[in-house]
Symmetry: C2
Subunit: 534 residues, 2 copies
């Protein structure tokens, strides 16, 4: 396998560990915990894994010695930078406790456990992947672990390999399922532990216990790099408006973080759109007004950041889509649309309207994810400006360019932050297993401080749960963290956006640096810094 | 102006200079030169700037002292990383020769000279832009300097500011025009010198005298970073084929360099398509065959690099477009297409066919640049695979994703290579002026060696010229450097591509590093390394 110079040099990076995980490690337990909501229901569903204490790892003079442990590791869901380092941390953690311990990687996601597809992760394998991006070491997948026959099938290979615990790296759903599995194995007294690790580039798996989910740091910095480059181009050429869509279906954390890093002229935050009950026309008018204002001072250029999931956060669009789904499923004509929806439908560019009615998924539903929101918005802004031009309200030019960034950042080589954070998560997971824990998520806190001061530990997954309706059924789930409009990151953005809109305040973050001054290489995200300061 | 941590830290970088430009500098002249072709015609057109010697700067113990020089600088054409460093090098070069010298920046391109729009570039301005990307210090523009009234208008402000020489940073056309201007001022005995600097991210301004044009290094490394990230994602998710279009209308250097850096499964080189007289169907078949082959071994994923200008290099497409232009301009029906063109037209996806006939530029011509080649190809590949599936020749899945990278790299902060190279070019330009040269291009050679061993100097622009037909007229132009099919970079690619296609040999270059090991931070492009080795 040919490697780039950076891959080779970066392989030697030794992630920084919290003091609590460096030498001998002992465990400190807190008071019993409660779930985030619906305590009685969650407790009834998780009798064996409910109410456990938060734990923290602290240094001790005693050396770490325990029986050799065999562990299994699973990557679940979309790629996020740092996944390999969680595995490396787990591997080193197992070996530190007893070099005879083994780590097995289940292949292509949770399905690997069910179907008994795995490899042993030896020193040679692990060393190939230290500090690298991607999930290609063992692959990932989207199989949901939620049925008893899956749990029982998994148990067979777990027994065969003498596995003490399974570590599942995933987002909110995967961690919920990790807890369901932990509860099942505990209820059956199978003696198999299950530990979760918080991953998502979207940043929507966080709460009082989880400062951030891994990958968010690296992905946002990668997007911010190219957004900054585009902004510098916009400011040099002075003739294009760049509409930049950013990955993140359910939450706008990425768009917000990128806005804080790059100070674009416009950034739309889905959660605000929903809270303010804004219409598509409201958003289009907001953008067009800024374009017109900048044009009036001779600046026919700018940047607009758009979260991927925007359309589904616009209440009126959501209603239109729901009505379309009903009408089209029944083979009825569009005459059945309510007048509000009919008006919105009529306002859409032809290509989008066509797509909404013609291209449906196997269930007959409109395929919202196929809508090119960045082009939809720029087209509608262009139309509005053309009207304003005739009315004399807009004097200038409007030439849009379009970009969508997602795959560009999900598998970037982890930043120092993510490399360190993930490695510590992996080591924490090993310690949670060694200390007999199950139904826990590995966590590392205080990460805006230098790594030595980070605090590693574990949190019962049930503590983050409440009951929510999913596909018509009430289910125990980890609450998704959307952008909070009264949180410090959004408030900072909101306090500055008018200035950023009118003036050109672009910041150019540049590419992620692995060597060099610490303020360049080791800073966490603006989101995290602002949240911790607040 | 708020700055990122990287911007602040990077401002302090002191570009490495060739030994010949470090202390006292003296000039070494070679033998008289000839133009690349059409010697008699070029000589007749440039009686005052033809036949001058190549010059080289060498160290001397004599200190640099000369009269204070005032210079003007112009950025011409598209952005390229390092432009600001040329200006900084020029500024420092002027000040080193005599601190009383001044540098004026003409605003928004050559038009700034004609329209007398300029600013003085003081220490304070220069220091804001050291080692930064973009052309925003003074802006750029595409006004062509080619008419006498422009030259005369420019002369007025040149006289007013006491400017000794104008330095024009641009591509092949801009440097040709720089030479025309130099010749004009020389013929008129105005005593104003003109110096060019070789810039283009496309990499098509190079020859025996110019190793590379600046910006190519940084832009390619930025594209290779995100392509590498996408490849890692492809290799982790194992379910998408990524079609990645890369900027570069007339030459495929960027696509080729990115392929050498990242080892994708497929890279199309326009120059090869033209040389082999390939059809659109040939290209589609080539891609589909590789997709099918990989699918047969269970690999339903991969990457395809496509140069932006591909369509215009496909001989049959070129003929179709020419026929369409003729027919549509005369308001005739498409029945007038030749049978070959009619067949190609019929094979195009509906959206592309529509675009070719409906959307025309103000001159009535088909707008080739609007064709989304990456989607055109993936759609046609998908159709072919669907046919093959029915025939049992393809068993697998084909899910494409699309990307286009251009603006993401044109204004990136220059790599160490470009920062050093550009700074040396600027200092060379100052020395060329101090030595009384005009009609020269600043050059720096031997750049695959450590910077101290680089050789700085100047080359008469006429030396790179020949006569070519442009818009129906024979004109003196600098020969555009297309990808040479018998050159080492292409041959290296061609020797490896079958292996890269079938196996997964992805390399992940990662982001440009400014600090750290020299093999990570200071390596020139693969293209340059292979060319120099050959």
């Amino acid at each position: 396998m040919e490697k780039s110079a950076l891959q080779k040099a970066r392989a030697a990076y030794q992630p920084k560990l919290p003091a609590g995980l460096r030498g001998g490690v002992t465990i400190k337990e807190g008071a019993p915990t409660q779930s985030a909501g619906n305590q009685e229901e969650i407790k009834a569903l998780f009798p064996n894994t409910y109410g456990m204490p938060i734990v923290e790892f602290v240094p001790t003079d005693q050396p770490c010695i325990c029986e050799p442990m065999n562990l299994g590791i699973i990557l679940s869901g979309g790629q996020a930078p740092g996944g390999h380092n969680v595995i490396c941390g787990l591997f080193d953690g197992i070996k530190k406790l007893n070099p005879a311990g083994k780590l097995y990687g289940f292949l292509m996601g949770p399905g690997g456990l069910v179907d008994h597809k795995y490899i042993e992760l030896t020193d040679a394998v692990i060393d190939e992947y230290r500090n690298t991006g991607g999930f290609d070491m063992i692959g990932s997948g989207r199989t949901k672990l939620e049925k008893e026959d899956q749990f029982e099938s998994g148990l067979k290979i777990i027994r065969e390999l003498g596995i003490k615990a399974v570590v599942i790296i995933g987002g909110d759903d995967s961690n919920t399922n990790a807890c369901v599995l932990a509860e099942y194995y505990a209820a059956k007294n199978y003696g198999v532990q299950v530990i979760g690790c918080p991953k998502t580039i979207d940043g929507d798996l966080k709460n009082e216990q989880i400062e951030t989910s891994f990958g968010f740091d690296t992905a946002c910095k990668t997007y911010a790099e190219v957004i900054g480059n585009i902004q510098r181009d916009a400011n040099s050429a002075r003739k294009y408006w760049h509409f930049i869509k950013l990955m993140g279906r359910s939450a706008s954390h990425i768009a917000l973080e990128c806005a804080l890093q790059t100070q674009p002229n416009i950034c739309i935050i889905s959660e605000e759109v929903e809270a303010k009950n804004q219409t598509l026309d409201d958003i289009v008018t907001y953008i067009a007004e800024i374009v017109a204002k900048r044009a009036a001072s001779g600046n026919n250029f700018g940047t607009v950041l758009i979260p991927e999931g925007l359309i589904e956060f616009i209440p009126a669009m959501k209603r239109l889509i729901a009505e379309l789904n009903d009408l089209l499923a029944d083979g009825k004509s569009l005459d059945g649309l309510t007048s509000e929806s009919a008006a919105i439908y009529a306002s859409l560019p032809e290509s989008v309207a066509k797509q909404l009615t013609l291209e449906r998924d196997p269930h007959g539903n409109v395929q919202v994810s196929l809508i090119e929101t960045e082009k939809l918005l720029s087209e509608m802004v262009g139309k509005k400006l053309a009207v304003w031009k005739k009315e004399g309200k807009f004097v200038g030019k409007f030439a849009p360019q379009h970009h969508f960034f997602g795959y560009e950042g999900r598998c970037a080589a982890p930043s120092n932050y993510d490399a360190d954070y993930c490695y510590a998560l992996g080591q924490s997971a090993a310690q949670l297993v060694a200390n007999g824990k199950t139904g826990y998520m590995a966590v590392v806190k205080n990460t805006t401080a230098p790594a030595a001061e980070w605090i590693a530990g574990g949190v019962p997954i049930t503590m983050m749960m409440n009951m929510e309706r999913r596909n018509g059924e009430m289910k125990p789930v980890i609450k998704k963290a959307l952008v909070e409009l009264d949180g410090a990151p959004f408030k900072t953005f909101a306090a500055n956006r008018d200035e950023w809109a009118e003036k050109t305040c672009f910041v150019y973050p540049g590419p992620i640096q692995y060597w060099g001054p610490t303020e360049v290489c080791d800073e966490p995200t603006k989101t995290l810094q602002l949240e911790q300061k607040a």
